[in-house]
């Protein structure tokens, strides 16, 4: 039976890492991730981690050495945040093309400038096009559990892709919650040893990441795309196996890609991800008590994108709000953009509005969520016909325009 402990999020993930026993951990410290690898290195010093712990000179090197270890057949782990993830971006895209299942914990944090150490999803959303599986955790337990599941999906020889298991910086990394930590034996029963498709071996030399000519490159990208899409089936299988063995359920009705809370036939839906899910759940309980029809759609997996699951969850919904902690500057939030694209060629067409909130650690209060729900309820009751102006599709409800010199105050 697993042991329940009161642990800070970063430490809990470190316990999770050790239960997985990666062969190689290579990392560089960055707030708010540091606590994860700090504790992993302590485990190494205490003799509880059998694998190598590499202390490197940068995130670029951390990711590159983890990639090299994965190429040699190792189970590799790294962790980072924010600017560190940007520095890892190049080797992560490479890991995807090389089909190397290196798994990372990301403590989500904003990107400079201005400098901020606080959390939002700007860092991982900026990596969405790189062929890495991205799984978002709502609380500390889910962050630990997702890491285990990420390994099982990523290392499946048929998938063989890098994966990012994310948790909101500070809100989850620095909160203490009761967490179930599994024994190495239990984890080993869940997660078999990695069986690499190829390994770097001097006695049988191979080239990984060779120069591809125009007549070959398209096929390699197509293969990654196919594997990313195929990984949805694997995620589906893995959340069921996880529930079977460890008793915790993550979106079993939606292949583990999303989860839905609230009445199935709700008129209004709130769509979000990460730690904000917990806050929204709390607020929606008030509506449930009053018998008002509002549901929450929680995004667990952002890449591969849960197209069919979102279509199913939003069928019959009149108005949907996306709350997200990122924005693709010059357009809109990344999640809402993808969501609208997923619905365009269907008859599932709720009115959709998006709300950019919680950037760089700004608190999101219950009152603000209630205001969004109220706006969606008005929209559901009185839908807009025809074209919605771009500037009306998305709002930044937390912006303090009065302190912003660049905004026209007239």
């Amino acid at each position: 039976m697993a042991e329940m402990q009161m642990l800070k999020g970063d430490k809990a993930v470190a316990h999770g890492v050790v239960s997985i026993q990666p062969d190689v951990v290579s990392a560089y410290p960055i707030t708010p991730q540091t606590g994860i690898v700090e504790r992993v290195s302590q485990f190494k010093a205490d003799g509880e981690l059998d694998g190598e712990f590499l202390r490197v000179d940068s995130e670029f090197n951390a990711c590159s050495t983890a990639l090299g270890a994965a190429a040699a057949g190792a189970r590799a782990f790294s962790a980072t945040s924010s600017q560190g993830l940007k520095l890892m971006s190049e080797p992560l895209f490479t890991a995807s093309g090389m089909r190397l299942p290196l798994v990372m914990a990301v403590a989500n944090r904003s990107l400079s400038a201005p400098l901020s150490i606080w959390g939002d999803h700007t860092d991982t959303f900026a990596e969405r096009d790189g062929g890495m599986i991205q799984i978002y955790g709502e609380d500390v337990q889910e962050a630990v559990d997702n890491l285990l599941m990420a390994y099982k999906v990523a290392e499946d020889p048929d998938i063989s892709l890098p994966a990012l298991s994310t948790m909101d910086g500070f809100i989850l990394t620095h909160v203490k919650e009761p967490v179930e930590i599994y024994s190495e034996a239990d984890v080993a029963a869940f997660l078999p040893d990695r069986e690499p498709n190829f390994t770097l071996d001097p006695s049988d030399p191979k080239t990984m990441g060779a120069y591809a000519r125009p007549e070959h490159w398209t096929e390699t990208r197509y293969a990654v795309q196919e594997a990313m899409l195929r990984s949805k089936d694997k995620i589906d299988a893995v959340v069921h196996e996880f529930a079977e063995q460890f008793g915790r359920e993550y979106g079993l009705d939606y292949r583990g890609l999303i989860d839905v809370y609230g009445p199935e036939d709700a008129d209004v839906a709130i769509i979000t991800l990460g730690s904000l899910v917990g806050t929204v759940k709390d607020v929606l309980d008030e509506y449930e008590e009053r018998g008002e029809s509002v549901k929450l759609v929680k995004i667990r997996v952002y890449r591969p994108f849960p197209i069919d699951e979102l279509r199913a969850a939003l069928r019959g919904v009149d108005a949907a709000a996306v709350l997200e902690k990122d924005v693709s500057l010059g357009y809109q939030g990344g999640l809402v953009t993808d969501l609208k694209a997923a619905l365009y060629n269907t008859d599932v067409r709720p009115d959709i509005r998006s709300f950019i909130v919680g950037l760089a650690g700004r608190d999101i209060q219950r009152r603000e969520i209630r205001e969004v729900v109220a706006e969606m309820q008005r929209l559901a009751a009185d839908p807009v016909s025809g074209t919605v102006a771009f500037e009306d599709e998305e709002s930044w409800p937390q912006v303090r325009e009065d302190i912003l010199e660049e905004v026209d105050q007239s």
Partner: protein
């Protein structure tokens, strides 16, 4: 390595596009060159810095203290000419 098998011949794409070694040998990047380094053998002291600095291993010793450029792979970056301590390497525009 002599007469390597062309790893691109009948290439099928494995997971991760893993291939047999030798891709660098068959991709003759010398065709990218716009300026060609030419070594003045009378001025050359045989110090070997061109070989040390060449990023493509195209500057090579062909005998004791004598260096030559492998034009199959030299991309014409000019680093050898820049580093040569006796200015024995001249970059000459390629005529295509």
């Amino acid at each position: 390595m002599s007469d390597p098998v062309d790893p691109y011949e009948e290439l099928t794409i494995t997971k991760g596009a893993v291939v047999e070694p030798g891709t660098s040998l068959v991709n003759k990047t010398g065709s990218w060159r716009e300026f060609k380094p030419v070594i003045d053998q009378d001025a050359c002291t045989g110090c070997g810095l061109c070989e040390t600095f060449c990023p493509d291993m195209a500057a090579k010793a062909i005998e004791e203290r004598t260096y030559a450029i492998d034009y199959d792979y030299c991309k014409g970056c000019g680093i050898c000419a820049e580093e040569c301590p006796v200015d024995a390497i001249e970059m000459i525009a390629e005529v295509n």
